[in-house]
Each structure stands twice: as structure tokens, then as C-alpha cells.
Symmetry: C2
Subunit: 283 residues, 2 copies
């Protein structure tokens, strides 16, 4: 972590009674900064504010958040920013218990971070040949054992309850495997542990519906908007994944990441994936 | 909050990069202190250490935790203690991402709290007639709309991902309603938002199996042990709840709480519930 602001003040800690820590009662966004610009700012804000509405958390002021982001990225033209917004720290006399306090200002935590390896100058995931997980040959990934639970009340939003992702990511430690693909309890394909997934079939871009579980990623949303006539959100079975012409993962930090191997099955980096990457490069 | 120790030091805050805050990657226990004694200490520790094992979190030293609890309850013979144990604050260079860091000492947060209303001298839930939710007539509760998701990887343990409980508790603000009962997605009865449930039928004590969702409460475990020959863990349908002879809720802070009303259905405080309460009073 480089710099961190908590409610606008330089700080590296949060009250131990904060509901974010006690219950995961909050939301987060992870943003990519390139050439000093925050990419897809408004899409991140839209998702964050939608999450606040869904959880009944007071909406933070966008202009205040933007000012805080600009503070933590000063002098760092290429970095990652993480924003957390929690339901806040209740007053002492009612600080315990699940009931959301009536009056409780949200807690804002805004911090900047170094880019992950291989991300120094671009948003694509394949530029650093010294990093096996980001070789030009595309990503090797695996299917996770853990099945995501169906919870429509929380589906789609980027909340702080991330133990499923932690437990799924803990299933492997082979550095040659870049990501794990998660299925739901009905064995439909949902997402990666920290990415969304697109499957290309007969030229169509298919991506899972996220009404029961998963996070509606900002990069996923941008691709859906840019390629709307060729995109479909639908249930995707394991068979459809196996028979796909192309598969790629995406998130705002790593961009569009072609998948060339899922467990023992191999895929080509095809023309549709290349087209999506070229579109992203031009943004 | 009265006193708080973070990793043994007097403090009221936790590092903003802590995995407990960022992912809910940790566990907690809520303990009742009566006459200066921590009730059911070993059962709380057993559940906490089981949770650490399930999540792959380093086990904290029990003796250290007990010393910290004794510090925060000094001079407070009747109070509640909350222990949180998180996977810790990773070192700066690898602080982001779901993968559990290889080397990462756990974070311990131990704090003491005032008892909830009506709990000043006993562990039962019905002693303060001025509090409508704890009247001698028993508790009025409701069925929640939210359905708990099935997630066997996390079921039973008391982890920090509690948004389901927060959202369920946010469904009502009538102070006359003390608790909400949660069903799973198959409409089986599971628990209260902050309690376990027992249903008495033909003299048998029935309590839900918690292999898919819910928390294995310490008080539930003590009752199962004390009344083992008359207890059964099983799936409990809404019909079984409706037709029950008696219903009670339990947790370590409020003890055994007879239910006299679930939405518009009324129940008597029957002999089995009274027997369980008398057993608990004698502990």
C-alpha cells in the first residue's frame, strides 16, 4: 500500500468496531490508473452507488471520493486504487448487533497500490514474458471445487463478504495457474475468483447471468456495452465452456486475458478475443 | 465498547489492509461474562479453533486469548466479550488479492461490551419487564424474507461474512419484534439472525442440521450435550415449526428465550422450555 486516506485523513487504520470489519458490511471497488487517469470512473461509481442502495448504506459523495482518489495517486501515474465504503462505525452504546444503526456515517477507505506483475505499462494481461501466468501464450486456469452459493439479495454487487473467493483461491498454489473458474451449485459457469468470464461461440460473446451469485464487473459491463449486438447474458453450462471457440477473462486491473488452458483442455486465442483486446487498447 | 486490545495492545483500530476488513476473512466469538466468569469458555475456543482449521487460518494461542479476555473484563463482572481473529494484515508488497499469504500472523481483537437491555443479572432473556422484547410472556419473532444461501464450505462456523444476517435484521424495525427466523432456499428452518432455534415436538427437542448454512451456536451445543437423549438434529420444515408444541431460541448472551409468537401464530411457554431454562440457570 502506498498512501491511504480514511474518511479523508491520512491514516492506515479503521476503528475496530467498524461494521466493515465486524460483518463485512460494506462494498469495494478496485480501479486502474493509467497515465494518471482513472479508467472507467463513472462505471465504478455507478456500481458502488447501486451497491449502497441495495445494502441500504448511505451513499458517499462522488466528488469527495474522486478528490481522495486524486490525492492517493499523486505522483503515481500507473497504479491500482482500492475504495472501500462500509456502513460505518456505530456509536459506542449501540455498536454490537446486526441491526443497521439509524444514524451512522459511512466509512471511506481510499488507498493506492503498486500494479500487479506484468501490468506496468498497459492494461492487458499478457505483456511480461517473465511472468508465467501472463505469458503471450495466454492464461492457464482451473475449475475450482468450491461452488458459489445462490444469494440473490447480494448477487452482482461488490460487497466485502469475500470468503468464498478466498477459499476458492486457496485451492491451488501453483504459480503457473493464473485464475480459478467458479461454478454455482447447479454447475453453471459464473466467473473467476477475481474476474468475469466470456465464452465465444459461433462469433457470439456469451457471459453468465449474475442474478444469483457473482460480481457484475466493470470491465464486463464495458464489453457488454461496446459489443452489445454480439453479446448475450445467459446460463453457461460446463459443456458450453468445454466446446467454446474462445474463452477470456477480464477485470479492470488486468484488462482482457485470453485463456489457453482450463485444466487439461486447450483453447486458441481467437479473432474475437483479439478484437476485444484491440478495442480495449484503443480506449 | 469498554476496553479493546488489538494483538494484546490497548487500541481501538485495526490496519486498513487487514483481511478481516477487506474480505471478512476471519472468525468471531461473543462470550457472556457473569459474576466475573466467562461462561462456556472451552466451547467457544473449540468452535473458534475449528473455524481456523476450516479456513486455514493460523490458530491463536488459547492462553493468550484468555489473558486478553481477563484484561478487558477487569472490573466488569457482568458483560459481553467479543473476540475477532482474522487472517491478519499481509505485508505491504502482497497485501492485495484473495490468495491467503503464506506468512501472515493472525490479528486478534478482544473487546468488552455492556450487556444488552434486560440482561443485567441473569443469562435468561425474560427478566426485564420494561423491555417489551424480553417480557415474561416470551418473545415475539417473525419469519424473514431473506433465504440463507447453501454454502457447505462455510456452514457452521462463525466467520466474519455476515451480510445475510445484516440484511435479514434490516427487514424490520418494530421494537416489539425481538428476532427473525431464517429459512434456507429450500424453506427449511435454520436459525435466528443471532440465535439458534429449538422446536419441541412430542417431548423431543429438535434443532436444524447446520451442514449447509447457519452457525453452530455454543449454547445450542451445550443444550445438545445436556439433553442428548431427547435431542435430534434434523431438517425442520415450516409445517413442523407451525405445529410445534414449544419453540425457543438460544445464544450465549441471552440464554434460552421462549418464543410465544411467530408472525400471527401463538405458542405456549411449555414444560420442556422451562426445563431447559432451569438447567441453564443451574450452570
Amino acid at each position: 500500500m502506498h498512501d491511504c486516506l480514511v474518511n479523508g485523513e491520512i491514516a492506515h487504520s479503521v476503528n475496530a468496531a467498524d461494521r466493515g470489519l465486524n460483518y463485512g458490511d460494506g462494498l469495494f471497488e478496485t480501479l486502474r490508473v493509467r497515465h494518471g487517469q482513472v479508467r472507467f470512473w463513472q462505471s465504478h461509481m455507478d456500481r458502488l452507488l447501486d451497491g449502497c442502495k441495495r445494502l441500504g448504506i448511505e451513499r458517499p459523495d462522488q466528488a469527495v471520493l474522486l478528490r481522495e482518489v486524486q490525492t492517493v495517486i499523486a505522483g503515481r501515474p500507473d497504479c491500482v486504487v482500492k475504495i472501500m465504503v462500509t456502513r460505518g462505525t456505530p456509536e459506542a452504546h449501540m455498536a454490537r448487533g446486526y441491526a443497521p444503526p439509524a444514524q451512522c456515517p459511512v466509512t471511506r477507505v481510499v488507498s493506492s497500490w503498486a500494479l500487479p506483475p506484468g501490468q506496468a505499462t498497459t492494461v492487458e494481461g499478457v505483456r511480461n514474458p517473465s511472468d508465467p501466468s501472463h505469458s503471450p501464450a495466454g492464461l492457464r486456469v482451473r475449475l475450482c471445487e468450491l461452488r458459489l452459493a445462490n444469494q440473490p439479495v447480494l448477487a452482482g454487487i461488490k460487497h466485502l463478504n469475500r470468503l468464498e473467493q478466498v477459499m476458492a483461491r486457496a485451492e491451488w498454489d501453483d504459480p503457473g495457474i493464473s485464475e480459478g473458474i467458479l461454478l454455482d451449485e447447479n454447475n453453471f459457469v459464473i466467473c473467476g475468483t477475481a474476474s468475469n468470464i466470456f465464452v465465444v461461440s459461433s462469433g457470439q460473446l456469451l457471459t453468465p447471468r449474475l442474478d444469483r451469485c457473482g460480481v457484475r464487473g466493470v470491465m464486463r459491463g464495458e464489453i457488454l456495452r461496446a459489443f452489445t449486438s454480439r453479446c448475450e447474458q445467459r446460463r453457461i453450462s460446463q459443456d458450453m465452456l468445454a466446446e467454446a471457440d474462445e474463452v477470456f477473462l477480464c477485470n479492470t486491473v488486468r484488462g482482457v486475458m485470453p485463456v489457453t488452458r482450463i485444466d487439461d483442455r486447450h483453447y486458441q486465442i481467437g479473432p474475437v478475443t483479439k478484437e476485444v483486446r484491440e478495442w480495449l487498447d484503443a480506449q
